[in-house]
Each structure stands twice: as C-alpha cells, then as structure tokens.
C-alpha cells in the first residue's frame, strides 16, 4: 500500500446518555480531537488525533468521556511488540527520528521496587513522629572532613573554619531542572512559589531565568548548560547555587533543540537569543573537552560569584559514572547531580531515551561507595534525579547514599500532567509543556503551587513515619545506611553493587 493510514493509539468512548453537548471538550482540546457538527447536532471525536492526555475526560461535567487504549492488536509476539512494528512503519513513512517526551517507559528492572526498608522491633523502639522531633534538614554543598575548635577564655568555643556556601533544605527534596521553553512560565511560577513556601529549591533548567521569576531567585539553582542560554551576571549573582549541566538522564551524550517556532518574545528575552531562531544546545560544552576544562569553568564561576555559592555539576548516569564523579569532586565541585535513565525531558529521540544510561539506584550506590573509598565523600553533596514516584523511592535513594533528590515528573504530575509523552508537540492541554497562550493560561500558578506544596507535605509525613519506624530521628543517620535496606528478586551481583543484603539476612 502506498499510503497506509496511521493507527490510533487511543479510542474515545462517549456515553451518549450522559453527553449534554456543552461542547467543553470541543473547545479545550489542543489537538482538535472533538468537533461540533452543527448539521447533525452531535459532537464527533476523531480518535487518530488523541494523545491520551485525559484533559477532556477530567473536564467533562457529566463524566461522559472515557479514553482507552486502542484494542486493535497485532499478533502476539514477545519480540516484535506493537510499538516496534509501528515505530518502523512511521520511520518508513517519514525518514525521521522518532521523538518522545518524559522519561523512559521501558520495563527496565526497577531497583526501587526490589529494595525493602527495615523497621525497629523490640530491641530498639520505633519513634513516633507526632510526639518526637523528626529531623529532615539537609545541607547541600561541600563540607570539611574535620574542624579545629578553640576554647575561649570566657569558657565558650569558637570554630576556626567557617561553614558557608551551603543550601539549607527543610526536606531532602528539590524541584528538578525544567527550562522555561520546555515548560510554560506559569508552570515555572508554580514551582518557584512552592519551593519558597516549602523552603526547598527549584532549578531554572537551561533556559535562563525570566524577569518575573527574579523574586524567587534566592531559592533558585541556575543552570549553565552547553548553550549558555540566559547566562549573565545577574543570573549568577542572584541565584542560590549554580549547576553546570553536562548531561541529563533522558538523553545522555546528545544535546537539545528548541525549534524556532517556539522561541517567542519572552523566551527570546530570557534565553538571550533572537526571536524565532532555533535554540540549540550542543552535545558537549565546547569549552569542556576534558576534566581540567571543567575545573577551569567551575573556578571561573566561583570567582564570578565570590566563592559564596555552591557550584555543582549535573551528569547522566552512565557506565563510568563512579570515576567520572570522582573526577568532578577533584575538579572542585560542591555538589553532583546524577540523572538516571528514567529522567524526563521535553523532547528526545526514543531510541536514546530508552537505551542510553543506567538506573539511578545503581548510580547512587556505586558513586557513594567510590567516593567513600577515596575518602572524598564529604567534599560534595550527591543529588539523585530520575523518576522518583513516591516517598519510599526517595527514602531508598537516601539510604543508598544520596544527600537529596530532585523530582521532575512527579512535580509535573501534581500540576496535571498525565505522562502522555507528547511534550515535544507543544500542545500540552494541561498548560505545562507549551508556550501557546490559549493553553498556558490553563495552569493557574496559585493552584499549581498549592498542589506542589501538598505533594511535598504528604511525602514529608510519609518519610517521617518510615524514618521513625526504623528507630531513626535524623535523616543524616539514614544517609548511606544500607543496613536499613534489604533486597528481593536481586541476584548476587546486583546485591553486591547496591551494597545491600538479601531479605532474610540479619545483621
């Protein structure tokens, strides 16, 4: 066949008894799935255009809509699954790279689901977080290994070394880097406001900082990515910390591309590029070809910011993440962000998103262990990123060795995202991954901020309960404490790499 019709991924079921023909669905769908046929007086839905974002389903006042996966199946084939067949068909049609959004959806082994937590019983009492203090306070930045304490004549003490340039977080969670450009300004505002209220930090991503977000700059970690978008002296000086982005978990080793049509006036001003021009972030930083180049850049930023703020480096979790991390510590970084294979993105080629990189659980385990063996662990803080779904995932990451975690996808889901993976089209019905003013107004930043604060509060309570259950009342006693984890469905090698015993093994 010369022109095979594409197959819908989703089908829309409309309950005609319930549909009141209010046409709300017609008005709101950015993909023009629903249309009103004046002649017949009916709403018609065109399945082929549906991306499965569920905006219409959740808006419909009578619940008349149901979005389902298209049951049209290919013959069972464990190797040639439907997705692979259609992927090739599309490439034969177009000759192009297949793009996608969000994090990898492949069934790679999920190590968080294979790790279980301890609870104290009998020999050690568990602690009730409602009655006793449960401390989650976390400091991000480089710390000394030891300090010199001088006794004063007055009887008090003074510490010779001054601790400075640390980020203080009430809970070990921060918002991951999502650039203005990949997400809307309203989404950025929601994240910034929630970070301020919850006393954590948000990350500007590689798109620079919009003027309207400067009031939140004191809680912002600003990124310096390979395209250097938006990097100027105000950007660096107003921020709380600076992060040099070498890579991200969703697309290790390749750069990024924001098409010219999406570079509106606001984006052009924020990124410091001409309106309508493509914003290309090259694969490497063209001034960092080796570890000594990175050291040069780190110190250049430290000089520019007066050595007052932590300067960190973000890398993807790759095969050699342990020695790379070790090198980064010695290059003078104050924190390292590691983004695992489940990390999200606005746009990446499917093949790279799903096959390049390693899981964050393993990366944290090996990096933490390597840095401790080399006795340089205290010099940096380790921030883990890449697909944290629940507070249990967060606590497990900390037990493996992370100082704090970044959440990206979870934050967007709080704002309404349904992980339809079509961010790269710019037609996000939830007003998140779009710059279209018809769509961005759907994300009310006040509501968004409230929802994010709610998520953080809920996870904080859960973390406190789990910590108390283990008989621990300060998060630093769980950090790197793998004795509190046990593995199931893991082989010997996996247990060894994670540094964790198997369930059933006692001390």
């Amino acid at each position: 066949m010369a022109k095979p019709k594409a197959i819908s991924e989703f089908i829309i079921e409309r309950d005609m008894e319930k549909c009141i023909k209010c046409q709300a669905c017609v008005r709101v769908c950015a993909n023009d799935v629903h249309i009103w046929d004046g002649e017949s007086g009916e709403t018609i839905s065109r399945d082929i255009k549906c991306v499965g974002c569920h905006f219409c389903e959740e808006l419909c006042p009578t619940g008349a809509l149901r979005i389902k996966r298209n049951p049209s199946e290919t013959r069972e084939n464990a190797h040639w699954k439907k997705g692979y067949i259609y992927g090739i068909t599309r490439q034969a049609n177009s000759g192009g790279i297949i793009l996608t959004g969000m994090g990898s959806d492949r069934p790679h082994k999920n190590y968080f689901d294979c790790l279980l937590l301890n609870a104290a019983q009998v020999t050690n009492p568990s602690i009730d977080p409602l009655r006793e203090p449960m401390e989650l306070k976390t400091f991000i930045g480089g710390k000394q290994d030891k300090i010199t304490v001088e006794k004063l004549d007055s009887g008090g003490w003074s510490v010779k070394e001054k601790i400075q340039g640390l980020l203080e977080l009430e809970i070990p969670i921060m918002f991951s880097a999502m650039s203005f450009g990949s997400i809307s300004l309203n989404a950025c505002k929601a994240l910034a406001e929630a970070a301020k209220v919850s006393k954590i930090y948000w990350n500007t991503g590689e798109g620079g900082m919009h003027q309207s977000l400067y009031p939140y700059a004191d809680r912002a970690i600003v990124q310096i990515a390979s395209g250097r978008f938006g990097v100027n002296v105000d950007y660096l000086n107003n921020a709380a910390a600076v992060e040099i982005k070498i890579g991200q978990g969703a697309k290790p080793g390749i750069g990024g591309h924001l098409p010219g049509e999406k570079v509106s006036e606001e984006i052009s001003l924020t990124r410091m590029i001409p309106e309508g021009s493509d914003a290309i972030s090259p694969a490497p930083h063209h001034d960092i070809y080796s570890i000594e180049d990175l050291k040069q850049l780190i110190y250049a930023i430290k000089e520019a910011t007066g050595y007052k703020k932590p300067v960190g480096v973000k890398i993807s979790a790759v095969n050699n993440v342990a020695p790379i991390a070790s090198g980064i510590v010695r290059a003078g970084a104050d924190f390292i962000t590691i983004d695992g294979i489940r990390g999200g993105t606005g746009a990446a080629p499917v093949a790279i998103r799903d096959s390049v990189g390693i899981p964050i659980e393993i990366a944290i385990a090996v990096v933490d262990q390597r840095l401790r063996e080399e006795r340089i662990r205290n010099r940096i803080s380790l921030v883990a990123a890449g697909g944290f779904r629940t507070s249990a995932d967060v606590i497990k990451a900390i037990a493996l060795g992370a100082d704090a975690v970044y959440i990206g996808t979870a934050a967007l889901i709080s704002l309404g995202c349904h992980v339809c993976q079509k961010c790269y089209t710019g037609k996000c019905n939830w007003g998140i991954a779009t710059q279209d003013p018809y769509l961005t107004k759907r994300l009310n930043p006040e509501i968004g901020a409230k929802r994010l604060v709610n998520l953080l509060r809920a996870w904080t309570f859960e973390i406190k309960e789990m910590l108390g259950g283990m008989g621990i009342n300060a998060i630093e006693s769980l950090r790197g404490n793998r004795e509190q984890l046990r593995g199931i469905s893991l082989n010997e090698m996996e247990l060894k790499i994670l540094g964790v015993k198997h369930a059933g093994e006692a001390w």
Binding site: V149, G471, S477
Partner: protein, 369 residues
C-alpha cells in the same frame, strides 16, 4: 553449636542485646579495689542472662605503666605461636604470661588467655605514623589475619577482662578483686541469640579507650562506613566497637575534646540549636552536625567510655536507655540503675539523671604516673 560455630556466627553478624553498665572513677587518681565495681554490676544481675560480662580497669599495672599491654585470647593453643611470631617482628616483648585466673566449674569453654607487655621496636618508632596509629594497625592486623586469636585489650596501664558468663563468675575467674585501679568499668550482657565466643563480650577497647554500652544503633550502617573510610575496620560487628572507634577518631585524630565529641555523637535537635543563646556555641553545634553528619548515632544508647584520664557518660538524644550518675567526695559513679550506685555508696552527696544528649565528663587529676 560448637564454640567454633558460635564464634563464626558472632564474628559475621550483629547480635542485639540489652545490658547493664556501670562505671566508677576516682577524680584524684587514687586507686581502689575491684571489689567495688563487682558489687555494683552484680547488683544489676537481672539486666544480663549469664551470656556475657566483663570489666575494664585503669592503673592496674603500675609497674609496667609505660609499656603497651596486650590481652590476647586464643581459641586454639597453636595460634599462640603464630601471633607471638608476629608480635616479635614489631615489638620487644618485655614480659609475657598467662592472665592470672581461677578455674570455675560453671564455665564450659575457656580460651587460652595471655598478656604481653610490649615496647615498639626502634625501626618502627621513628616512622611516619604515630605510636598510637601503629598499635591500632597492629591490633587490626592480628584480629583480621588470625582467625583463632583476638586482641581484646591494647592500652597502657589498663586492661579489659571479659568472657561468657555471669558478672560474678567473670569477677571470680579473672580475680578482679586482686587489682586496684582509679577507673573501673563493668558490663553485664543480655544477648538475644545464643553466644559462646568470649571475644564478643564487653567492654570493648582499643588503645587506652574502653567502652561499655547498652543499646542498639539504628545508624550502624553509616557509622561503620564512615569509620572504615577513616581506617577503622569493625571486625567485632558490635555497636560498642563503633562507639569506641568514633570516640577514638574524634578525640585522637581530629583533636576534639570529649565534651565536643559527645555533641557530635548525640547532637541536639535543630530546634534546640536554634534556641541556643550563645552564638559561639550555636555556631559550633551547627558546624559539628553538618561536618560530622555520618558520625551521629541514632537509636537508643547509654554508654560509659573511658581513657586514661577521662570518663564520659552519654545518653542518646531521646534518652531511650537509663543512665544515672552520682558523686561523693572524689568519686563519681555512672550506672544503668541507681541501685547499682547505692549498693556501693549508700548516701552519695549528689545523684542526678543526665539529660538526653548531654555528656557527663569526669577528668582525673594528678593521674598516677
């Protein structure tokens, strides 16, 4: 299970236990008989189950006060030759003898117990590492290499005596009442598993540090990793070992005084630090918590730690294990129960309960030399 099997089990796994602890110190360094400490710990007989007890005394070897003294237990007599060969490569052995004991019928297995008074050989004493680090490294080497030997005391003018039995059995066995010391610690153990290995009993010691402990550490996993990266290998798999090494690391290698070390191990809550009025102390507490986060001990504990001139008593931040202190003329007492103190000092001048996380530090003046 055989002794060997019990030993291997205990050497590779942690055993939770409840316990009783007691410590007596004479502030002026005047030595007193071991009878006192025996009375004290035996008063708390119910806190143990006959599966472990021990004593640590300071000032007990006045005639060898400048010599390093190793107490070594051998599960197999032939291991003695191997270890002595190893010692001879590093030390001049001034005197070696069996530790004086009295045979007691109720003790089923008794290892061979020897003590050695040592001087480091010249070729090792002007090296790059300090004398203490050399002894530390020697002890770690012996305990890791020789499966049937354990060095269980390694200080100067002090000694630890311990094994599997009741506190009165151990006292009689080791003839504790024959010794005089100016600091005495004692421990009575209640392990949750069957134990047989004498090396697993408490007190635990390294160099001239010894520690008796009641509790279970929830932060053990990270405390141990932190210590391993600082060169301390936890071969005994006990919480007591971790606490002793932490004190050793902070005081000896990092030069922090004992009170400050107490603030590292049992840091006050942030809410309390924020209310601290003295800005110097506030800055110190905050800095300690940030820099030494991996040394914070979480979980219930009451410890008494001693070295040649100081005794420290410390509770965890929530005071989940009991600890009582008392003082009377130049004696200071610390124990799990007040009865253990009143048994030996009926009306002390002062009795108090230390606050959670606030260390009691007793320094010994005019240390006998």
């Amino acid at each position: 299970m055989t002794y060997e099997q019990l030993k291997n089990l205990e050497k590779t796994s942690r055993i939770s236990c409840g316990c009783g602890i007691s410590g007596i110190v004479n502030r002026n360094g005047n030595a007193f008989s071991g009878e006192l400490i025996i009375s004290s710990i035996c008063m708390m007989r119910e806190r143990g189950n006959g599966l472990g007890a021990g004593y640590a005394g300071y000032g007990i070897y006045p005639e060898f006060q400048d010599r390093w003294c190793f107490h070594i237990m051998y599960d197999q007599p032939r291991e003695k030759e191997n270890v002595e060969g190893f010692l001879e490569t590093r030390f001049n052995i001034i005197q070696q003898e069996p530790i004086p004991i009295k045979k007691i019928k109720s003790l089923s297995f008794v290892p061979v117990l020897y003590r050695y008074f040592l001087v480091i050989k010249d070729e090792f004493s002007d090296g790059l590492i300090s004398e203490e680090d050399f002894i530390l490294e020697t002890v770690m080497s012996i305990n890791r290499q020789f499966n049937n030997a354990s060095v269980f005391s390694s200080g100067k003018n002090m000694g630890i005596f311990k094994g599997v039995g009741d506190p009165d059995e151990m006292a009689e066995f080791y003839r504790i009442s024959d010794y005089k010391g100016y600091i005495w610690l004692a421990h009575n153990r209640f392990p949750t598993n069957t134990v047989g290995w004498w090396g697993g009993a408490h007190p635990f010691g390294i160099l001239d540090w010894s520690c008796v402990h009641n509790g279970e550490i929830s932060s053990y996993g990270i405390n141990r990793r932190y210590l391993e990266n600082a060169g301390y290998y936890c071969t005994f798999y006990t919480d007591t070992e971790v606490i002793t090494y932490l004190f050793n690391l902070l005081c000896r290698k990092h030069g922090l005084d004992l009170e400050i070390s107490g603030y590292v191990l049992a840091s006050p809550f942030w809410s309390k630090i924020e209310k601290e009025e003295d800005p110097g102390k506030q800055g110190l507490l905050k800095t300690l918590r940030i820099v030494y986060a991996s040394a914070l001990i979480n979980g219930p504990f009451a410890v008494v730690v001693a070295n040649s001139d100081t005794v420290v008593g410390l509770n965890d931040r929530l005071k989940l294990r009991p600890l009582v202190a008392a003082s009377d003329s130049d004696f200071v007492y610390v124990a799990s129960e007040e009865s253990a103190i009143r048994k030996i000092c009926a009306r002390p001048e002062k009795v108090w309960m230390p606050e959670a996380g606030e260390p009691i530090v007793v320094k010994v003046n005019n240390k006998r030399r």
